[in-house]
């Protein structure tokens, strides 16, 4: 039952009696990919869990009206990304007066004390460098470097041209390499 295609799951979802079952299948199919997308943006597991659940609640609400203007996964990925960015903005608002950099430093401090972070010194330095990137470059870098998403998929999710994404990724890798060299990792 878990090998159903997106179309088959959506068809099942249209049947009121099967709605919950179909949705559970959808959650199981995409939970991990969405989790890691969110986790790389907000870093802590607790925050990721909260945002992921919000994402799925929004997917449930929007699924009735979902039309195949984009792929189901791309649409869900976009919701997850927007939810994560909104979370960061709200966090910044809560700590009024904090600049972008300070919020990122706070995220990093949380990461170091997070019991679900198991990285060595080099991995921590890499996360520090990623956090120093502008928001868009950070998203592009995470999607390409860790998840190896296709530029066409990223283009749909981030609503940016493939050319601009390639340029963003190039700039991001150069900046990270420079930062790592500075820290002599």
């Amino acid at each position: 039952m878990n090998n159903l295609s997106d179309e088959e799951i959506l068809q099942l979802f249209q049947d009121k009696k099967m709605q919950s079952k179909a949705f559970a299948m959808l959650v199981q199919k995409y939970q991990e990919r969405l989790y890691w997308q969110i986790r790389k943006i907000v870093l802590s597991h607790e925050d990721t869990d909260d945002i992921l659940q919000n994402t799925f609640v929004k997917v449930w609400k929007g699924l009735q009206n979902f039309r195949y203007d984009s792929q189901l996964f791309t649409w869900m990925f976009r919701i997850a990304t927007n939810e994560s960015l909104t979370f960061l903005k709200e966090k910044q608002k809560k700590h009024l007066g904090y600049s972008n950099g300070e919020v990122e430093e706070m995220l990093l401090a949380n990461l170091e004390s997070d019991e679900y972070f198991d990285g060595d010194k080099a991995q921590l330095e890499l996360q520090k460098a990623i956090l120093k990137l502008p928001e868009k470059q950070r998203l592009v870098f995470n999607m390409k470097y860790f998840d190896d998403l296709k530029y066409t998929e990223m283009s749909e999710i981030l609503d940016t041209s493939v050319g601009a994404l390639k340029a963003s990724y190039h700039h991001a890798t150069k900046k990270i390499e420079t930062l790592l060299k500075l820290n002599e990792v």
Binding site: Q31, E32, D118, T173, E177
Partner: protein
Amino acid sequence: MKDLSNKKKESPFKVPEDYFENLADLVQERIKTEKTSKEKKIIPMLKPYLWMAASIFGLVFIAKIILTNAVPSEFRNPKISQTEVSVKDTPNVVSNADSANSIWIKDALSDTSSDEIIEYLSDYDIDSETLLANL
């Protein structure tokens, strides 16, 4: 290690045990809670409007009672409202006015004796034909 291509891409992040096994149930639970709280929210949201509707209904009811008592019963004609009056209705209105006049005349003459009325009519030379025509 300074070159990203040489770095290992292993994720340094961990996830609590069984997290993904239970997530679907947690999400379903949250959707259920949201649905219930949304239903609970609708009644308090409608409360002010229900109060407003009840107040307007009350005011209209009170105004109707006051107006009903203020207008004398002989001038009340529920069949004719202001908006219903048109040119073709004019004769009806006139005849209603006539009937109101005749009621007033009847009341005014109730204290006058028959002899006084006959005397008045003879003084003004009103013959029986004219009288019958104006009945």
